[in-house]
């Protein structure tokens, strides 16, 4: 976990690429728009094009592809479950049937296609969010969000949370090690009283320690003159090239959307 967060706190890949320098506000809007449009694509062709386009963008930003592949592997269990599950729960034309006594399982073509479309949507959205964060870095994403009037409370909370996740998670890891060293072996089911008492106490101690840490940090910040307001310098207006890039991304998404059969049914369903 820690490695992954580090990757995103520094912007990944080669910071010199044009895509790293595009105005963060334009990037946030363009990527949000792209995900919004691609999440409702219904054709496999359209979705494959969206995925290929995002892969090309990622390659153009010279993000390390091996790292990307590693992250994509995380989606495998999820997509795998759907591909294994959906053919059996969606009614339609049977392609495969398995009988064992009274038990019969049927896989349907519609189910496969449904699972494939859903997996492609998830992969496309993942690539887009990943591209945004890896080429922009959290700090600039937050600057863009605060420009779009996301309440300052949130921006600050996200910053503090990211800062202290490492500390609290480390504390938890130490407690886990200590628990294991004392010979704790978790039970196998929900009704193992000792397991739940021990885990509950771990979380309880972690809560109290975090709470006290929060108080200490707050007082230390007050002592240094913290007033709750954080001064941020205003971002310069985006340049023409930034805007053109954003428009290009959104046009690609709109183009994919326009040629998608899903859009037509969706529009009809509004009438």
């Amino acid at each position: 976990m820690t490695r992954l967060m580090d990757d995103f706190l520094r912007t990944g890949g080669c910071p010199g690429s044009f895509l790293h320098r595009v105005d963060p506000r334009v990037k946030v809007l363009a990527v949000t728009g792209f995900v919004t449009l691609s999440a409702s694509l219904a054709s496999r062709a359209g979705l494959v094009l969206a995925v290929v386009f995002l892969l090309a963008l990622t390659a153009a930003a010279r993000l390390p592809l091996r790292w990307l592949a590693g992250r994509l592997l995380w989606l495998l269990p999820f997509a795998g479950t759907m591909i294994l599950l959906f053919p059996f729960i969606t009614p339609g034309e049977p392609v495969w049937r398995w009988e064992w006594g009274a038990l019969a399982i049927t896989a349907t073509r519609e189910g496969w296609q449904h699972a494939l479309v859903l997996s492609l949507r998830v992969v496309a959205a993942f690539l887009a969010v990943n591209f945004l964060l890896a080429t922009t870095g959290l700090r600039q994403v937050l600057e863009a969000l605060s420009f779009f009037r996301v309440p300052a409370v949130f921006i600050q909370m996200i910053e503090f949370t990211i800062r202290y996740i490492f500390v609290v998670a480390d504390e938890l890891r130490r407690m886990n090690t200590a628990r294991a060293a004392r010979g704790f072996v978790p039970g196998k089911h929900l009704f193992h009283r000792h397991t739940f008492r021990t885990l509950g106490q771990t979380v309880g101690v972690l809560f109290v320690r975090s709470w006290e840490r929060g108080e200490r940090i707050y007082h230390a910040m007050l002592a240094r003159g913290y007033t709750g307001r954080v001064h941020r310098k205003a971002l310069p207006p985006p340049g023409g090239l930034d805007l053109a890039w954003g428009a290009f991304i959104l046009l690609v998404a709109l183009g994919l959307h326009f040629f998608d059969p899903g859009t037509i049914t969706w529009l009809l369903s509004w009438k």
Partner: protein, 218 residues
């Protein structure tokens, strides 16, 4: 329970997004009154705590395990308003860094896990502990509150997915509720231990802290 992108119909995710934006805006306004902006660092550390608490796995049955969601825990110890802000922050970070839950589905995930879960927990806990004013009643209230919060969030997620036409209701509902009925038991057991541990400690040592947390006398 994190819904990814592409599972929700545009109307559902926009609707859920509007609802949760309203709830979150109310929480921001309310927290500003109770806590003042200055307490934000402490809330951030509590969000980091919930994030870490969600890494605690507990055994369910037959080698499977579940993890804590923390909605009830945050609502009971810190009050539902602060809990909403904390869980929303956690969900945003999970979405950005781990792609746990989608960008378009963020509104729905916030609604299920940062609005419905803490408020159901808070309401159930108040109701049951007012009905049975004993220490056993309070324990039952905390357990039931945690179980109900998990179930309510799972129910909301199932309805959102089913009404989007992604999975038929008669399949997603029993699957989600059946699994989360078990997860909810683990959540309830751990929350009971944590809350009794913390309230014993705070009751003995620092009685003034609970009011600072906005726990509203729970």
């Amino acid at each position: 329970m994190h819904i990814p992108d592409g599972f929700l119909d545009t109307r559902i995710w926009v609707g859920a997004g509007v609802l949760s934006a309203g709830a979150v805006a109310a929480a921001v306004a309310k927290t500003r009154k109770v806590l003042e902006d200055r307490q934000v660092p402490a809330l951030g550390v509590m969000a980091a705590f919930i994030f870490a608490a969600q890494m605690v796995n507990f055994p369910v049955a037959g080698g499977t395990s579940g993890h804590l969601l923390g909605g009830a825990l945050a609502a009971i110890l810190l009050g539902p308003w602060s809990a909403g802000l904390i869980l929303t922050t956690v969900l945003i970070i999970q979405m950005l860094f781990f792609y746990d839950g989608g960008l378009t589905a963020l509104g729905a995930n916030v609604l299920n896990m940062a609005v419905i879960a803490p408020w159901v927990a808070y309401g159930t806990c108040r109701l049951v502990s007012n009905l049975f004013r004993s220490s056993a009643g309070r324990t039952a209230a905390i357990f039931l509150a945690s179980w109900m919060s998990v179930m309510a969030a799972a129910l909301a997620a199932s309805l959102e997915i089913a009404f989007s036409g992604t999975v038929p209701l008669k399949i997603v509902l029993p699957a989600m509720l059946g699994w989360h009925a078990l997860i909810g038991i683990g959540e309830g057991l751990i929350t009971v231990v944590v809350v009794s541990f913390v309230s014993r400690l705070w009751g003995l040592e620092q009685p003034e802290q609970k009011s600072v947390a906005g726990g509203e006398g729970l």
